[in-house]
Symmetry: C2
Subunit: 190 residues, 2 copies
């Protein structure tokens, strides 16, 4: 019987794909094993159980989202950066709901946890959006939190079908970005 040639990263990516397809709550060792053409107990040679696997998916999601934000925001500032960052988050959550759910549900185990630095990089991108607005330094942290809340809330509600009429969702999103841009501009130059 030939070996499958698995490493932790292979298992994590397969699990992340499965989570995106069937939902994080439906993720199980069996279905990941089946995807990889392997029996479930074999996965424990590469991954330390379902909790560890979810943690790895969370880290993968944070890394990917951080990279996507960096790439998308290259050379942009102000309203353009804001709109691009928002759209990037929204698209990532829509395309990878399982990874994103893992990311939001997880918390780093310590300061040397790769998840911690991955999350920090995402936050740095959010902070970079705000550099284009001339905010009071004390307001920066509040603005970052508001931005996170808005984007997280909107994307989460959208993927869980929390909005009634999905036809206008793009309009609502654009309106929201304009609203925030105007508010930040006014806050920067009072």
């Amino acid at each position: 019987m030939p070996r499958a040639g698995l490493v932790p990263a292979t298992v994590t990516e397969a699990a992340a794909d499965v989570a995106d397809e069937i939902g994080l709550s439906q993720l199980s060792m069996s279905v990941v094993a089946e995807r990889l053409g392997v029996k479930a107990p074999s996965l424990y040679k590469h991954v330390d159980g379902l909790a560890d696997l979810t943690h790895r998916i969370a880290t993968l999601g944070a890394l990917e989202l951080g990279d996507a934000l960096r790439d998308a925001m290259q050379g942009l500032a102000g309203r353009d950066a804001l709109a691009m960052a928002a759209q990037t988050v929204r698209a990532y959550v829509k395309d990878h709901p399982g990874r994103y759910a893992a990311t939001t549900g997880a918390s780093p185990t310590g300061p040397d946890d790769p998840l911690a630095s991955a999350l920090d990089r995402v936050l740095e991108s959010f902070a970079a959006v705000l550099h284009g607005y001339h905010l009071n330094p004390g307001e920066q942290i509040h603005a970052v939190r508001m931005l996170r809340s808005v984007l997280h809330g909107f994307a989460t509600l959208e993927t869980s079908n929390g909005f009634q009429l999905d036809a206008d969702i793009d309009d609502s999103f654009a309106w929201m970005i304009t609203f925030i841009d105007r508010g930040l501009t006014a806050a920067g130059a009072p």
Copy 2:
């Protein structure tokens, strides 16, 4: 052996309490049964399985949150109404994370589902907040969605410890309310 005198509402409330205490994901028939001094299979005489139980918790949560919003917003308008509604949502999510998680995770099965009307009442309260601002009717729906997104996102991130501890979360929340109030005021009188 005496009867426990259970009805669906009793089971639902006990389950909601348990979910608030240990988290919705940890909810199981066994632990609810233990709370009620009963064996797990007995619950199936009152409730149609775990999915139905979660659905009932979601409905309970939506009803309670709707009532809390109505009570809190009595006679308030404009910024006061906005601040009170936001604080009410935030407090409810903090005090009842399990119920709230059930509410956001669930979707009504049909138009006659009690959950649908309960959710509608919550949305009506959000809409009522905006009546104090003189928005263009076409903007109303966008503003409601933004309000939902912000409050949902903030409360969710806060309860999952998504914010770092270095700055006061209350300050951020107050700043955010002021930000939205100013934006809505400006949008109403351009």
